[in-house]
């Protein structure tokens, strides 16, 4: 790697200030699983790394009245071990489990993954179906937005220069919501997703309430399949309906053709995976209803 300065800021604000002062030549460093690789091969004009991975403001997982706060610098390994995540956001845990391998999950952070903003980011769909929000800190202070608005294009987020992703919030009302995540890659370990899909929904009797479907690696950014959601909303569950929704979600995607898989193959995957995550979410919701009946 080319010579670099390595700076550990005292606080999030200090980090922003350092980045502002150094301009284009400085770059925030999170887990490094993408950035360090890039710097080894094509460092561009970067000559300073501002290591934000240890900042208090960006660390920790806490449950508050508002919901679950996950610091952007929490690693996948930490999410997978956290009792609250395991209990209330099992699909975020499952999605984390599909990222890289143990070693990369212990370095890689959930925030870093979102900021890298590749269409196949595994954590994105799982967070999107839980209506997650993100908070950002920049030279103009803090702002907050739905996670969908964070993604702008492939490798492009809404972050202004010198702005940092600080936290991910999962609102209280979606914690524990029946949900499911499925990633399909060419192999089991360390694969990039060809398609990943997540769903979340509640059942009111037999009717689907608040359905959410999110898909990754099917468009320039992770997307919500809103038309498919609209079809499901308020309807009585049946196998045909779920498959219909899965079909619609295909029309909402724009998968690419590349050396990993053809567009057509990806389309079929989208339909199958969407149907499966919906089926699985319904199953979980049903199990929950049964349990409630017993109590």
């Amino acid at each position: 790697m080319r010579p670099m300065n390595y700076i550990v800021p005292e606080s999030a604000e200090a980090a922003v200030a350092i980045l502002a002062e150094r301009g284009e030549n400085a770059c925030p460093l999170a887990g490094g699983t993408d950035l360090v690789v890039d710097l080894k091969h094509a460092p561009g004009n970067i000559n300073a790394l501002v290591d934000v991975s240890g900042l208090e403001e960006f660390r920790g997982i806490d449950e508050t009245d508002e919901g679950l706060r996950i610091g952007s610098m929490v690693t996948y390994g930490e999410i997978m071990e956290h009792p609250v995540c395991i209990e209330k956001t099992p699909e975020v845990v499952a999605a984390s489990h599909t990222v890289g391998a143990v070693q990369t999950r212990n370095l890689g952070t959930i925030g870093g993954n979102l900021v890298t903003c590749v269409p196949s980011a595994d954590s994105a769909p799982a967070l999107m179906v839980l209506d997650a929000e993100v908070t950002l800190i920049g030279t103009n202070g803090w702002r907050r937005m739905p996670i969908e608005d964070f993604f702008v294009g492939p490798r492009k987020t809404i972050l202004e220069p010198c702005e940092l992703l600080a936290e991910i919030w999962i609102p209280g009302h979606t914690l524990g919501k029946p949900s499911s995540f499925y990633k399909f890659g060419l192999r089991k370990g360390q694969a990039l997703a060809l398609v990943n899909a997540a769903a979340a929904l509640e059942l009111d009797g037999d009717r689907i309430v608040e359905p959410r479907i999110a898909l990754g690696a099917v468009a320039p950014t992770p997307i919500r399949a809103v038309k498919a959601e609209a079809l499901l909303d308020g309807q009585v569950v049946n196998a045909k309906l779920l498959d219909e929704a899965a079909k619609i979600s295909v029309t909402e995607s724009k998968p690419i053709d590349d050396f990993r898989a053809s567009r057509n193959y990806r389309r079929q995957l989208i339909r199958t995976l969407t149907r499966r995550v919906l089926e699985r979410s319904v199953e979980i919701a049903r199990e929950r209803q049964e349990k409630d009946k017993l109590h």
């Binding site: 490094g32 690789v37 212990n106 370990g189 360390q190």
Partner: protein
């Protein structure tokens, strides 16, 4: 920059350029050549070491990040007169052929057994997914890890 580590129980330090990876520091500054460079991009796992209780790709971690941390490398597994159960079982099973993946593989396996002494085959595969081996086909490695776990449990029981 000065980086101070505890490596395999010993305090070690070196003055390294800030862009130095932990792997480079271990190999070139501290003379610990056990961890290997296989791909330099976080795919192969030959550089795996344990930092503060979790396994990481040391080719992706800057040495500065590890400052003040507790690091375990392959050199820290055996004592002067005793092999670690993993090393014993890997040897018995012939689980390493060219051996290049071995240091990383054993460290990942150790990290697994430290938290989960009775792993299922599935769990072993999952824990070693980041360690590629081009020679063995993994079967003997998995057998060796499971038996090493059993051996460690027995040792624990007899203490």
């Amino acid at each position: 920059m000065l980086v101070e580590l505890t490596v395999n129980g010993e305090s070690r330090s070196a003055n390294v350029p800030p862009e130095t990876t932990l792997l480079k520091m271990l190999r070139e500054y501290l003379g610990l050549t056990g961890a290997k460079l296989g791909c330099d991009v976080g795919d192969c796992g030959t550089c795996t070491v344990i930092v503060d209780g979790v396994s990481v790709n040391s080719c992706l971690m800057l040495a500065g990040r590890a400052d003040g941390c507790d690091v375990t490398t392959i050199e820290g597994l055996a004592t002067a007169d005793e092999l670690h159960p993993l090393q014993q079982k890997f040897e018995e099973h012939g689980a390493l052929q060219c051996g290049f993946c071995g240091p990383g593989m054993l460290i990942s396996a150790k990290n697994l057994l430290d938290t989960n002494p009775e792993p299922s085959v599935f769990e072993v595969r999952d824990a070693l997914a980041g360690n590629l081996c081009r020679c063995t086909g993994y079967t003997k490695i998995i057998e060796a890890v499971i038996e090493a776990g059993e051996m460690m449990n027995q040792e624990q029981a007899t203490v």
